[in-house]
Point group: C2
């Protein structure tokens, strides 16, 4: 057990945005929300999944929808606790803590806001170990846990409770509500016992985010040393450096969808990488061939600072590095690949772990 | 207080379909559901709004969406009580009875099914005195009553509870869920006290439906005598006789929308009537000029039998009469016209009561 202070929150926001693979929201907005919450309510307790009781009850809180919309619809702050408390009351159980659904600049911070406001601990785990665009794309789903009862709200004050026949139906019904609510909403979903968190979550993701954020935010001036530290901390691979030369995007069905084209720089000068995204980066092709495939993490970072670049921050001329991280092993199962593999998203590639793609291509670690 | 037997149900289904002005569902499907419910559970008590307690609590049950879909998705029967009981439990109040939201072949029958299954009385009132396509189009809305908490379900078993900031938001959010659920859903909405039913409902609509149905189903062989009886019972007007020569329709946004063109017969041979509908008939134009306008009731019936013709039953070659009835006076207020008048639906006509239009045109009662 420990407390998260301002420094920890700054680190977590940046590290979680890195693990958010382009999605999960802007870390600046996220950290401002969390910092103002702990300033007002005091620091937040962080518990590991080993420190919680088997039968205790936990609920996450998260934003759903197109992250780009959040910039225009800055949350008032009470919608997170409203949706969280609504679900708690509906379930009629005392809630002993909260946790993030996914890594991301905003979605790592919302549970900190809720924890601070309600004086609850934050549990060091999430349901993805990264970010994904749809509600059934969580390790809880792979473990057969129901996404409902869930609660959904908007910044205007509309609120709903849903109980569905499948997690895919939760996604369908929550998605149309989210779109109607203005392309973003707040949800509390996948209520879990301590026992379920111990077996079905991705553990220590808050600490890992913090570790990553600390490296990225460090004063280390040598970009290559910093990169090395980052890759070592994440078992990551450095795939490409380049300059963004094209960004196609649109907001369709409540998602940010698109493709970014990166022209190689330095050692990569003769090549081009395309990264396709749906809120999150899903597929990276180098000169037409896959170099990283969902569910492995494809992370775009600033060439110099290594600051994570979210999909809404992609801009012509920006110089970026393309990194890739192996996903949590839960995703590399048959049900995992069926749920979040390339074909689910409509890309005709068989999933191949990034380690194998790297070995085949002879890419080195740095 | 009295009990509704099979004969009463047959009459109510047909009479309510007439008052449904094209919408509210097919009376054959409706009556089959209700008849099988009272066969299994016994007859249903009908109470007037004078016979209920001020502080008692009542919830309606209704179908939402495109009526044409119901024909393909015949309800299993348990979805009506599921949504009704869900809302009752959520509100934590003992429910003392149910009532229809609107007149219609199906929507007059669903509360009878619920009443029979749960041993509750049916209250002789509704929220429209006719049918309308959107959730805020009820007299409860005109009286400032909230549509939520509401419950919504589908035949698959998905279920939701909503609390919204306005009845228009209820319509928006329930509509997108209904479309996603397959263009139809079951809702329990506008929970009311006895006091609210006494002041804000349209009263005696079940009895009126029964009276209308009895006339239409009678053995009277003289069509003109039968028509006269019907117009007398409803303060109605006979506007036109003709043959359907064109039906344009589509299912858009979860509604059946379209226009039927009727070429005059007999005394009307030189004229043409067009009726525009969105689930319900909204506007009738004779040779381009309005002869009846929403919220007044525009009812199409079979030329011989006077059986109501629903929008999904409109067919080329069918011979119909066009009748019109003055709407309940609650609709003829400023808020009423703003909520359901011609301009709300996008028709550039100022509402004029059907009596005035008839007087101006010199149309006689029969």
């Amino acid at each position: 057990m420990r407390y998260l202070d301002e420094e920890a929150i700054e680190d977590i926001a940046v590290g979680a945005a890195f693990l958010g693979t382009g999605g999960g929201g802007d870390p600046y907005i996220g950290k401002m929300m969390a910092l103002s919450a702990i300033k007002k309510y005091g620091p937040v307790q962080l518990l590991t999944t080993e420190e919680i009781e088997e039968d205790d009850f936990f609920i996450p809180a998260a934003m759903m929808g197109a992250p780009s919309v959040l910039i225009e619809k800055f949350p008032k702050g009470d919608e997170f606790t409203r949706v969280f408390q609504k679900l708690g009351r509906y379930l009629g159980r005392e809630v002993k803590g909260t946790f993030p659904m996914e890594a991301g600049g905003v979605n790592s911070m919302i549970p900190i806001v809720v924890a601070a406001q309600l004086g609850l601990p934050l549990i060091d785990c999430d349901g993805m170990g990264r970010a994904f665009p749809e509600l059934q794309m969580v390790t809880f789903h792979l473990h057969g846990i129901s996404s409902t009862p869930m609660a959904i709200t908007d910044e205007k004050g509309n609120i709903g409770i849903m109980e569905t026949i499948s997690n895919k139906w939760t996604e369908r019904l929550a998605r149309v509500s989210t779109v109607e609510m203005g392309a973003s909403s707040l949800v509390s979903i996948y209520p879990c016992t301590g026992g379920q968190l111990k077996t079905a979550s991705v553990k220590n993701i808050v600490s890992l985010s913090e570790k990553i954020g600390r490296i990225i935010r460090s004063n280390q001036q040598d970009a290559e040393v910093k990169l090395n530290d980052l890759l070592e901390a994440t078992d990551g691979f450095h795939l490409f450096d380049g300059k963004i030369v094209d960004v196609e995007r649109g907001t369709a069905g409540g998602f940010n969808r698109g493709c970014v084209t990166i022209a190689g720089l330095n050692a990569y000068a003769d090549s081009e990488v395309k990264v396709f995204f749906q809120n999150e980066n899903l597929i990276a092709l180098k000169d037409g061939l896959p170099i990283a495939l969902t569910p492995d993490l494809i992370c775009l970072v600033d060439l110099e600072t290594l600051n994570p670049v979210t999909t809404e921050g992609l801009k012509y001329g920006k110089r970026v590095r393309v990194l890739a991280l192996p996903c949590n092993s839960k995703w590399r199962t048959e049900k995992g690949i069926e749920t979040v593999g390339p074909r689910y998203f409509g890309y005709d590639y068989s999933y191949t772990p990034v380690e194998e793609l790297v070995r085949k291509a002879g890419v080195t670690h740095v």
